[in-house]
């Protein structure tokens, strides 16, 4: 790959123009505009755009998506169990998981500036490990475009669906995944201790991470969080466990919420939020102030669970910032950092940074500041993954 010189870009609002020299997939130099001399490099005119680090979609479900095909009107009933049942029914009918859909969505995510994604892939006795294998195949095809990490996810339950636990273990044993999912141990699985002991046991045996879907509300969800914190400390899994959603934290009284936050910080459990629909919003400033790491993800994108979404992490950052009532540039930048550093930390990766030596996972956007980028969300001018141009003006660049 030839070196790339990105000319005339800004690192912050009203900062002077700089050039970025990209070599061997990394940011090699950042110099005042016009000073860098590398005649061999491919030149890109940044035209004053802002450069931002590649974002992390820390919670999505690419195996479920209907992205890239015609409109499918939503058909599920109103509660979680309806959606699980509808998802399984519709799956066969609509040819899900779909290789084309997974690829189209991952490319769309990339085109919006996401350079790393964690996706939860359904595992159950009907689908077996097919979903995991299919996503792995597409991820391999796109290995130079986006880093994809899979979670083996028991969407329909693992106690309530006999055979699922064995499949999950098989996925871990084969090395198909390094992260195991869980779901509503009380509300769906009806036995929180057994569900949690099972997945924590597997995580310890296989050296896996855990990412637990927790839709449980109020004091029930808060209690499940306590059970998770206890097990992280007991199994020595600090820094390796995430709770996705976890809105219960917002619903219990302040003293209770503070006590749980302390536990999350101590056990280094990340919270991963999608901030969808009208679900309670995690208070970003407060939780980060208490030392709790937060990442963000798009969750479902146009699937049998809901018709919304487009895979754009700046859109998701907007929802997080907007519903947190963030208006100043500094506040909005904190929400953006959730979608960059927060997600990376949750996944145990190095956060993307715009500095010499860092991998060139970044994007250019026509905005004056992160505040404007999040408020206006124009198409990304250019997206680089490890120094390679993977998208331009909101559209994927096909490998030549």
């Amino acid at each position: 790959m030839r070196d790339m010189l990105i000319e005339r870009v800004r690192l912050a609002h009203e900062a002077p123009l700089v050039d970025l020299l990209i070599q061997d997939g990394r940011i090699a130099q950042i110099e005042p505009a016009g000073l860098t001399d590398d005649a061999a490099a491919v030149r890109e005119d940044g035209a004053g755009a802002l450069v931002l680090p590649g974002m992390v979609d820390a919670h999505c479900h690419v195996d479920k998506t209907l992205w890239g095909r015609g409109w499918v009107p939503h058909s599920a009933g109103p509660v979680l169990e309806d959606r699980i049942a509808n998802g399984e029914r519709g799956r066969a009918q609509l040819g899900l998981p779909s290789r084309d859909g997974i690829r189209a969505l991952l490319e769309q995510m990339t085109a919006a500036g996401t350079t790393l994604a964690r996706t939860h892939t359904d595992v159950d006795p009907d689908i077996g490990l097919r979903g995991l294998e299919l996503v792995a195949t597409v991820a391999e095809e796109l290995a130079e475009v986006i880093d994809v990490e899979q979670v083996a996810f028991p969407q329909g339950g693992l106690l309530t669906r006999p055979g699922t636990a064995e499949l999950l273990e098989s996925a871990l044993r084969q090395g198909l995944v390094g992260c195991l999912g869980g779901i509503d141990p009380a509300a769906l699985e009806r036995d929180s201790v057994r569900h949690l002991d099972l997945i924590f046991g597997l995580a310890e045996s296989y050296g896996a991470r855990l990412d637990i879907h927790l839709h449980e509300r109020g004091t029930l969800g808060a209690h499940t969080m306590e059970l998770i914190i206890e097990r992280v400390l007991r199994h020595g899994l600090e820094g390796r466990v995430a709770i996705s959603h976890g809105v219960a934290l917002v619903e219990v009284d302040r003293a209770h919420s503070e006590r749980i936050s302390q536990g999350l910080a101590e056990a280094r459990i990340s919270l991963l939020t999608a901030t969808v629909y009208n679900t309670p919003v995690l208070p970003v400033a407060e939780l980060r102030g208490r030392g709790v790491n937060i990442g963000a993800g798009n969750d479902g994108v146009r699937d049998l669970w809901g018709p919304y979404g487009n895979g754009d992490m700046l859109d998701r950052t907007f929802h997080l910032a907007y519903r947190n009532g963030f208006r100043t540039d500094e506040q909005i930048a904190a929400a953006f950092d959730v979608a960059v550093s927060g997600g990376a930390v949750a996944l145990g990766r190095e956060p993307a940074r715009i500095e010499p030596g860092a991998p060139a996972d970044l994007f250019l956007i026509d905005a004056a500041s992160i505040g404007e980028a999040v408020a206006a969300r124009p198409p990304r001018r250019l997206v680089l993954k490890r120094g390679r141009a993977v998208a331009r003006h909101g559209s994927p660049v096909r490998a030549s």
Copy 2:
């Protein structure tokens, strides 16, 4: 104006292709595609797009906008009073209200498919009637592009800002406005009865409509709603009064909320919602089921109150639908109807309709259904106001 034949469009998901013949600013004929014969007409290829009625932005503040200029980082403190003070301080500094800004925003709203807007214009002893006059001038320039109705709005209070009431009366007397605003009669004005009696008195004297900003929360806001309902019935102003925001309705207990809803329905008071930030969301299906009319608006767009917004009523419809948890096409269509019929009814206008004889206020969008239009919000292919093409592909058409 020459007749226009819009060829090959759809009126609903999977409906057959039709042609729309536009004559004298109205929809003259809707026929199966290919059958209409008007050789003289300008032809527009709809390319299978969906045709939808023009939307109503029933609550905005175009006089405050910074739209069309470079990024202005947000600078206000966190509470309402900070924002009012910041708005007045920053106004002079930034040259607000700005003729260019008002025009740019109204054109942008039009380009997104809005054909009628109600905008609240600040009136206070500092600015006098200058804002109203400026907005009136721009609205006059854009008279063929969008219908604009102004509210004379005492943003800083009218009891707490002596001289404001006289200005409002003067605006009514001069015929500058046909609608009078009010604001938080208890929380801001400190005397709800006096505030309301004053504006209801003016409304009755001048035959004006009323549109009252009500940010008051919980039981306080609910009590103010009761005071408003009583006065609408007493003054015989049924169908001529709107409450903007009115989130208190969601915060009181169910029996209380139902009682107030009944009162709103009886007094034909419309609720106008912007569904911004994390404010409680009005339950659309429930309120409409109880006979309460609801309209929607963008509220502030990139101004000293907040950096967000783009004037797109499909975006606003998305927020309303999304936070109501609407997922089926039928539910999302109800939210869209809020932004069309709901707004028109609140303003005492005929709702836009796609049927022969109706004014040709409409837009074309590349979507299969209203559900997809709201979920994906692609640029509007073509927008017509009274049969005239006012925007194409998301950009205003300048008058030739």
